[in-house]
Symmetry: C2
Subunit: 163 residues, 2 copies
């Protein structure tokens, strides 16, 4: 679908040129589309950013689901490392793009609340699970800024040991 290519272009642009490079003209050019064509799919810049956020959340939820681990925390852990190591799901880019208007981040706040709480009380050691999930957030955060710092395999093994 063409819509997804436009979102890809916007993400890529954010990733390597930052938020102020995210203009309708630049996104259109990067996607090989005219500005009018872009506006056909997304009626406004706000709609474009909203689309990025929604896709990010949906994709990550799907990635968690696809892991099929025994607990939500284990799936969340696996999904985080897959997302970070493959470089798909450029959360940092998407989020900074949306940070211009805090209201656009509301869905992400909601999703984050879910990611931190879902199934937590049904797990063997809830506090440990919470620590692991928080560390996953940290991994994502640190990895997007300077990936070289972390030894993914080691951290992952240690986090699994905590559960």
């Amino acid at each position: 679908m063409r819509r997804d290519e436009l979102l890809d272009a916007a993400e890529a642009l954010l990733q390597d040129q930052g938020a102020q490079a995210l203009t309708l003209a630049a996104v259109a050019e990067r996607a090989g589309v005219s500005k009018g064509g872009l506006l056909y799919h997304f009626a406004s810049k706000e709609a474009l950013v909203k689309g990025m956020i929604e896709r990010l959340i949906a994709d990550f939820d799907a990635l968690i689901e696809a892991q099929g681990e025994s607990t939500y925390t284990r799936s969340y852990l696996a999904a985080t490392f897959e997302a970070v190591e493959t470089g798909r799901l450029r959360r940092w880019a998407v989020v900074t793009g949306a940070a211009g208007d805090p209201a656009l981040l509301a869905p992400l706040r909601e999703a984050m609340a879910r990611w931190m709480r879902q199934g937590l009380d049904d797990e063997p050691d809830p506090p440990a699970s919470q620590i692991v999930r928080l560390a996953c957030e940290g991994v994502w955060e640190v990895a997007t800024h300077c990936a070289a710092i972390i030894d993914f395999a080691a951290v992952r093994a240690r986090l699994l040991a905590l559960l």
Copy 2:
């Protein structure tokens, strides 16, 4: 110093209205200063944002130093919770403000590398320390988006237990 008040105003503006509200005119008005007055201290918007980043890093480094715990990780942990719980050091706001131009985030990347690595190998259990530091990042990240999710005291106790 008036310079700090201008940085405060810029931070506050970012915090509750987002990055696109960070205009020279708006910062000046919030600080009770004319636009000319703002430009007297910061020759350009870029200089303003750079100032915010540098102050954030310096303040957090000072906060870590001030904890005087037995290891860097312990101090880092204590500093993180102090920063998050008191609401001082609005990192999220500062960072999103700077995310317009990725180059401005370079000092932060550098600082983050330091925060994740410094003294790590001298500590009793380096992998555990790394997990704790990553979880601190997660706490900061999650807390700034939706503080209600986390029971700070419980998480903190558990992280200390890991060390």
